[in-house]
């Protein structure tokens, strides 16, 4: 049996999206051209823009198509190193940004880079469930802060932040609010007006759309400066001939999400509970990561003590099950998941973490299959693990 439980990494194309994109391959015109080929492409791109805008409660002009979620996040953060007061009025005064320790690397590494370029970056801690502390945020906000960037749903543990409340606090202090909603859009209701954000990031491939296309919501009237220059596309906000195929794919993806989302969250939550209880009842020495309730219904992150995550991942792969791990070994770095470490999980448990991320196609049979295979694999690895040698030798050499 093949089980794909890695939907937070990426999702398979929705069949309707695939159809739409295959049809769109015939449409090769450049949306900037004035002839009929160009006009056809333009009409379709603008139609797609309306669909994406509608899906998140924005207006068309507030949607900028970009090359990925990462690009959208880079664009927003990079607004704050532009020294010109023409671009961002008053940004000279407000030269600090606030973000969290659990953001996606495309936010964290961009923030580090900004720090080298003179921006003061303040990082919010999270509690054991991955939630930020609003009091800490209140203490950090001030008239030096220009931007706050906080993800709506965390990709590793699924924890959801209260963006609405956060945005209110941020605006009260005079700063702008960005949320990376790559893992939230299409899974939980997202409405930019009720959230009250100034910028919001979307990526198509996490919602059964194509890879390499995303959208950035930029609230009307908010200061903006393009990351990629040299063209009038996207009203001068993102140069480069439009990825028409991707844009149409993204629009179809959100259209299908609007149809399929109702009822899906409850269904996935039930499956997650079955998975969670099944693991709890069949395997000892485990630790669930993330928030027990304020969390994506599709995401379950669990640590198995005494076993290393890459080994679990690869044994599961041999049984046809695809998952992710927060172990250092699988990522090529030496440190385990920065998200888990930020929640205060012990490094050993972070190395032994597995993320199951379900999706629209996940079935009860798949969950049962995982529950059948997983305990044997954990037992097998623990049997060869030094962590399970009790007594003196073990203790002495720690």
């Amino acid at each position: 049996m093949k089980v794909y439980f890695d939907n937070n990494a990426t999702t398979p194309l929705h069949p309707d999206v695939k159809k739409e994109m295959i049809a769109a391959m015939e449409m090769f015109g450049n949306p900037s051209s004035m002839h009929s080929y160009g006009r056809e492409a333009r009409a379709n791109v603008e139609n797609a823009r309306r669909q994406v805008a509608d899906f998140i409660g924005a207006t068309e002009k507030e949607i900028v198509f970009v090359g990925s979620g990462s690009e959208a996040n880079n664009t927003v953060l990079s607004l704050f190193v532009c020294g010109s007061s023409q671009c961002i009025p008053g940004s000279k005064m407000r030269s600090s940004i606030i973000t969290t320790k659990i953001e996606h690397p495309c936010v964290l590494e961009t923030s580090e880079c900004l720090a080298h370029r003179g921006v003061r970056v303040k990082y919010l801690d999270v509690d054991q469930y991955g939630k930020i502390d609003l009091d800490q945020l209140a203490g950090m906000l001030g008239d030096d802060v220009g931007l706050v960037s906080i993800m709506m749903a965390n990709n590793e543990i699924g924890t959801l932040q209260d963006i609405e409340t956060i945005a209110e606090m941020v605006h009260a202090s005079g700063a702008l609010m960005h949320t990376d909603a790559v893992q939230a859009v299409g899974k939980v209701p997202v409405d930019v007006r009720s959230l009250g954000v100034d910028f919001l990031t979307i990526s198509a491939h996490k919602i059964y759309g194509p890879k390499g296309i995303g959208a950035l919501f930029v609230k009307k009237g908010v200061p903006y400066c393009p990351l990629i220059r040299g063209g009038h596309q996207e009203l001068g906000r993102r140069a480069g001939t439009e990825n028409t195929l991707g844009i149409l794919g993204l629009a179809k993806a959100v259209e299908m999400r609007a149809l399929e989302m109702p009822g899906e969250e409850d269904r996935l939550l039930e499956l997650k509970n079955i998975l969670r209880n099944g693991i709890e009842n069949s395997i000892d020495d485990i630790h669930f990561n993330g928030h027990p309730t304020d969390s994506l219904a599709s995401t379950l992150n669990v640590s198995f003590s005494g076993v290393e995550g890459e080994a679990i991942l690869l044994y599961l792969d041999l049984e046809g099950i695809a998952v992710s791990t927060g172990s250092a070994c699988a990522s090529g770095s030496l440190d385990p998941s920065h998200v888990l470490l930020a929640t205060g999980v012990d490094a050993e448990l972070a190395h032994g973490s597995i993320r199951f991320s379900m999706g629209r196609q996940t079935t009860r049979q798949e969950v049962d299959y995982v529950l059948n295979v997983l305990p044997k694999i954990i037992e097998r690895i623990r049997n060869m693990s030094t962590a399970y040698i009790k007594g003196g030798l073990h203790a002495a050499s720690r």
Partner: protein, 203 residues
Amino acid sequence: MLQAGDWAYSETLKEHFMNPKNILQGEDTDAFDGVGMEGNLQCGDQMMVVIKVDKEKEVITDCQWKTYGCASAIASTSILSEMVKGRTLDQAFHISPKEVAEALGGLPDHKIHCSVLGDKALRAAINNYYTRNGQEDKVKQEQVKVICQCMSITDHDIEDAVLEGARTYFELQERTKLGTVCGQCKDEAEVLLEKFKHIHFGV
């Protein structure tokens, strides 16, 4: 389009991962003549190697292990346990991580550090055997030499940095912070950098 199937690892490694050889069953090490353990759980890998020795010939007759670690760690301890049987203690002591990696059909660069603990644990087990048998004189210490006094970086740290991917002096500095204060350690560090690149990667 290409099909899936190719792991980042060789077939030999995959085989040793799927069917590891000589896993120590249970926790009892009393039946063995030497026990060595290296690494720690916080860092993500730890290995224990136990050996039986033919005391007259000083030849390893059995080698078993436990490993907490990734696929490369499991497979490299498994293949090491096969390689050492029949070797003399002295031969076994000199098995290098490179030999282990070669026997596995090669390892991706960033995985080499996952496999260096096996031979370290083996050397610890051999030293443990010598100690237990009143041959302390034969115990070989792993020599550690401080290269960068300012940041107290040793030759082992340099070796680790190379195993983790440092190839230039700049990368070595980035990883270890060596040479970032007075800078007088640069020449010696560069010599060691080249040496370890040669030992581990043949470049």
